[in-house]
């Protein structure tokens, strides 16, 4: 079911660069997980990052959002800010949002409270003393709740949600944060085909206003929604292009897609 | 409340006298640490006080009334001592409180006892520099233990002193006094070390002692640290023949916990030993063992606690009342044949005259008396009678 919206060969930049990853190398006590990786993210782009298990995709996102400090390299914003020198919360305040591979919501808080945390615009400690929690549900929140289908679960402890529901909640929190750059690590893992489709549409509409990086293994999904695909392998950039181009790369087929996929691609 | 405890105690321990105590009794408080680190020392004092109360009750009580002890636990915490003292005086309206061990506990009870105009009998040797009108001090003050022992050591063992104590009020004050005295009497301090309460490793200190090579280690360590210190001293190959140690807080009870083999030959200064030869002591020691077990030992603070109850009884009987003012007035000059020998209450400062004794630990864990002061020494808590002592308490 190929999407009518997709224009296969469109590799041309849709806008200016919003984030540029330059020569990032990450090593964990000797083990090099990312090795001189480069990545350019442009505005309003739905950018997929794929590659074999252990290629370093998650680590790459970790570097961008400040969770992991690289041995060398830079992550630059257009104004020249180097994110590798910033703390996590500063990076978040600069407009980088992140969804983790394993769902990570605040289990002790309700769904609504989780969303409120993301919604709050001023995140200073002193400022927060003034606002009361448990206020009305904002308009933006209501919208997001509908989008993620958790409207009737606002008072449920997030820890009691199912795996998939947590994924949705986390996406919802990201939406409320309104970041310029969204980093999503396997957002559709564990979703039914139909739910996957819904998420894809959601991502596409989000990408109209901002840039989105998605790490994903569901090739159907990538094929359908990717505007640009970057393939990582053993910590390095393997190739970049549209899904079609990438699929035809023999190395990608060899290390990642597998025989069957290769056949799929050829046919 | 405390009543329950009272009934329990009189019910079990003083069964034969219980019947007579109905209605017409005099309450006294017994306030020691029954839990926490200080219980190691204080429980035995409580036992001795209970023994005295039981004996007095068996002999007809005080002013014809039975004594009704209200036991409370100070839990090794000064604030609790203060609280419980207040409870005993205000709630139970006891005629007197027997209790405390550490100076901290005494200092904590002091304002409570004074503001309630109560009476406290404090049974442990201490650092002096105090004389509350509401407290009777039945342990030694410094001139009844420390000062004479330093003189004796200077004469008999040598001039070079190493001062070792726990890091708290009594040892620090004691060592200040010793330093002043040594200066005046021609001795020398070659080292002074304090270890935190509960310190259990003395390897470094022992190395320091070795390096300083003193004639005498004057030991003001607190109970438990003594065990560690002496065991480790012995392990380091230092015996009483190499260096004399004189302790002021190591009595028969502590020897049992340290091991007589470790302490044999070391010295202590006290006013009483289990081996002190008086008829009263024979009686006391037998009664104590009969009540609490053959393996129990008596010791100076235990005797002081026991004596305190009898002194209070004598004062009450002389006053014909338990009224505090009257008892205090009557107490002046009261004499009592204690297990440690004759004691007399000094009307000026409410301490008691005591005989000073220096003893040497024997292999059976008992002391052999090497020297005594011959007659009871008048208490001088502010060391006013010593030329060198003036500076210490000068206001």
């Amino acid at each position: 079911m190929p999407s009518p919206l997709l224009k296969p060969n469109e590799l041309h930049p849709k806008g200016k660069t919003v984030l540029s990853v330059q020569d990032i190398t990450v090593s964990f006590s000797g083990f090099v997980a990312v090795n001189g990786m480069n990545l350019n993210l442009r505005s309003n782009e739905l950018h997929f990052l794929i590659g074999p298990n252990g290629a370093g995709k998650t680590t790459m996102l970790d570097v961008i959002c400040g969770k992991t400090k690289p041995v060398s390299g830079k992550v630059l914003l257009p104004d020249g800010t180097d994110l590798t020198r910033k703390k996590e919360h500063q990076i978040a305040r600069l407009g980088i949002g992140r969804k983790f591979q394993a769902p990570s919501v605040f289990g002790g808080l309700t769904v609504k409270e989780n969303l409120e945390l993301a919604d709050d615009q001023n995140k200073g400690a002193f400022h927060s003393l003034r606002g009361l929690r448990g206020g009305e549900i904002s308009h933006a929140m209501e919208e997001v709740l509908t989008q993620i289908g958790l409207t009737d679960r606002i008072l449920v402890r997030a820890g009691a949600l199912s795996h998939g529901e947590k994924q949705w909640l986390e996406i919802g929190m990201l939406l409320l944060q309104e970041p310029h750059v969204l980093l999503l690590d396997e957002p559709v893992a564990g979703m039914t085909d139909d739910e996957t489709l819904k998420t894809g549409e959601l991502l596409r509409s989000i990408a109209k206003k901002r840039s989105v990086v998605v790490v994903e293994h569901d090739m159907e999904f990538v094929r359908q929604y990717a505007e640009k695909v970057t393939v990582m392998h053993e910590g390095k950039l393997l190739t970049e292009g549209t899904m079609l181009e990438v699929q035809q790369n023999p190395v990608v087929a060899e290390v990642y897609l597998g025989k069957r996929r290769k056949q799929d691609a050829v046919t | 409340g405390g009543e329950t405890a009272t009934q329990q105690t009189t019910g079990t321990e003083g069964a034969e006298t219980a019947a007579a105590s109905d209605g017409d009794t005099i309450k006294v408080g017994v306030l020691h640490s029954l839990s926490g680190t200080m219980s190691i020392s204080e429980v035995s004092v409580k036992d001795a006080e209970m023994l005295a109360i039981e004996e007095i009750n068996a002999a007809g009580g005080v002013l014809g009334k039975q004594i009704e002890p209200v036991i409370e636990d100070g839990a090794s915490d000064p604030a609790i001592f203060a609280e419980k003292a207040g409870k005993l005086l205000q709630q139970d309206k006891v005629a007197a409180v027997f209790g405390g061990w550490t100076s901290a506990s005494r200092k904590a009870m002091l304002p409570v006892v004074e503001s309630n105009n109560g009476l406290l009998f404090y049974p442990v040797q201490y650092e002096g520099l105090e004389a509350s009108p509401n407290i009777f001090y039945t342990g030694a003050t410094t001139n009844q233990q420390i000062v004479p022992s330093v003189s004796w050591l200077l004469e008999n063992r040598g001039k070079k002193f190493f001062l070792l104590g726990s890091d708290y009020v009594f040892p620090k004050t004691a060592n200040k006094i010793i330093t002043a005295q040594l200066q005046a009497e021609g001795g020398e301090v070659v080292g002074e070390e304090y270890t935190p309460l509960g310190h259990t490793d003395y390897s470094t200190i022992i190395s320091k002692i070795k390096a300083a090579d003193p004639d005498v280690v004057y030991n003001t360590l607190n109970g438990d640290s003594n065990v560690a210190f002496f065991k480790q001293l012995k392990d380091a190959g230092i015996t009483s023949e190499d260096i004399t140690t004189l302790s002021v807080s190591v009595a028969e009870e502590e020897i049992r916990g340290i091991g007589a083999d470790v302490l044999t030959g070391h010295l202590a200064a006290w006013n009483y030993y289990q081996t002190t030869e008086t008829p009263e002591n024979t009686k006391f020691t037998e009664a104590y063992k009969a009540k609490y077990g053959e393996d129990r030992v008596t010791a100076d603070p235990i005797e002081a606690g026991y004596t305190a109850v009898y002194l209070w009884k004598a004062a009450v009987e002389k006053a014909g009342s338990t009224d505090v003012e009257k008892v205090k007035e009557a107490a002046k000059g009261i004499e009592f044949d204690a297990p440690s020998g004759k004691v007399t209450i000094d009307g000026d400062n409410q301490h008691i005259y005591k005989t000073v004794r220096i003893g040497e630990v024997q292999s059976d864990g008992q002391f052999k008396e090497l020297w005594n002061s011959g007659e009871p020494v008048k208490p001088d808590p502010y060391l006013e009678t010593y030329e060198w002592g003036k500076s210490l308490s000068a206001e």
């Binding site: 919360h89 978040a92 605040f106 002790g108 | 036991i71 304002p111 503001s115 004050t173």
Partner: protein, 364 residues
């Protein structure tokens, strides 16, 4: 009790009103001694509230609150001691051959300054410790051990610097404040009311905080500190602020405590009392402010009562109590209350989840 819950939030307000009125009537029925005990319990309840703020809501376990408590207490005690000494040096300084009042004692001649310092000093210490450790992301037992180290340092110094602090004896031997006898019945009653008012104010303040966005972030950081960072919050600041306030409240509690008890010594700021403080909060119900208050008052009352009743065996009873509470009421007394009221609600007809959540919030 569950009936209260059936009455809803408004009913609970009324119930608390009744409790407060009963508390203010206590001096009429209680002996002086019991009243001052109760005041002491209320004083330490202030500390419990602060401890709950940082532990129950912030998930940061401090075994060092004895120090903050002690600093407040010493500040007040220094004032009282100087008052009692008049023109001369405090007695223990004389015994320790101190010739002149140390400079840092001078400010404590003034009551307002002493009071201010009694709050500011512990707050400052808490702030410094919190700021560096939270910035450096020291968390969990590592932080807890750090607070224990703090206790050891402060206690050892207080014990060792006898000539300035009174050593193990602590500061005692003062009987008056503003010319009134501390042990006088009227003073006792006044101090009781002062303590009660301060407690209520502290409670209201902390309640406002836990119900603010601040409290929400604090709770979120407890569940996932890193996650909070990725939302753009700096949890270090939140924790530092909460810890500072917690320290200040502990100091406040210490000041009131000294007025009731008449003594402060290093043994009251040590490891054991610091652990006991945590036990109050745990018993009452961590994460609910009222639980902290109830826990502090009940556990202290139990300690006093049980040790009076069984001076030689009370540790068995207290120890057994701890074990039983943990086994049978994992969420403390407040948890028991919630279970009861939930059970009651189920019997009295189903309610929607919303009211459950709100009811539980209301009691927190």
């Amino acid at each position: 009790m569950p009936i209260v819950n059936k009455l809803g939030v408004r009913g609970q307000r009324i119930a608390w009103g009744i409790v407060l009125i009963l508390m203010s009537l206590a001096p009429l029925v209680s002996t002086e001694f019991r009243l001052s005990l109760l005041a002491k319990f209320l004083a330490v309840a202030i500390l419990a509230i602060g401890l709950d703020l940082i532990w129950g809501y912030g998930g940061v376990l401090s075994l060092g609150h004895g120090v903050f408590f002690g600093l407040g207490a010493y500040a007040m005690a220094m004032y009282l001691k100087l008052q009692a000494s008049g023109a001369s040096l405090p007695d223990f300084m004389v015994w320790n051959s101190v010739e002149k009042l140390p400079w840092f004692w001078e400010p404590f001649r003034s009551f307002p300054i002493a009071m201010l310092l009694g709050i500011l000093l512990p707050a400052l210490l808490a702030f410094l410790l919190g700021f560096f450790t939270f910035k450096n992301r020291i968390a969990g037992v590592y932080f807890t051990i750090l607070t224990q180290a703090l206790v050891m340092i402060v206690v050892t110094l207080f014990v060792g610097k006898q000539e300035w602090t009174g050593g193990t004896n602590g500061l005692t031997g003062y009987n008056q404040i503003f010319g009134m006898q501390l042990h006088h019945p009227t003073t006792t009653i006044m101090l009781y009311y002062v303590t009660l008012v301060v407690l209520v104010l502290a409670y209201i303040l902390c309640r406002r905080i836990v119900r603010s966005r601040f409290g929400q972030v604090l709770e979120a950081a407890r569940d996932g500190e890193n996650r909070v960072r990725f939302l753009g919050y700096d949890p270090a600041w939140y924790k530092t602020l909460a810890f500072t306030l917690s320290g200040a409240l502990a100091g406040l509690a210490g000041m009131l405590y000294v007025l009731q008890v008449g003594i402060i010594s290093p043994s009251m700021m040590g490891i054991v009392p610091s652990i006991e403080m945590v036990l109050w909060v745990a018993l009452g119900g961590r994460g609910t402010l009222i639980g902290a208050v109830i826990g502090a008052v009940i556990l202290n009352a139990a300690k006093t009562g049980i040790s009076e009743a069984y001076p030689e065996g009370w540790l068995f009873v207290m120890g057994g109590l701890f074990v039983a509470i943990v086994l049978f009421m994992p969420r403390g007394l407040v948890g028991v209350y919630h279970n009861l009221s939930r059970w009651w609600r189920r019997k009295g007809g189903a309610r929607d989840a919303k009211s459950v959540v709100e009811a539980e919030r209301a009691t927190s």
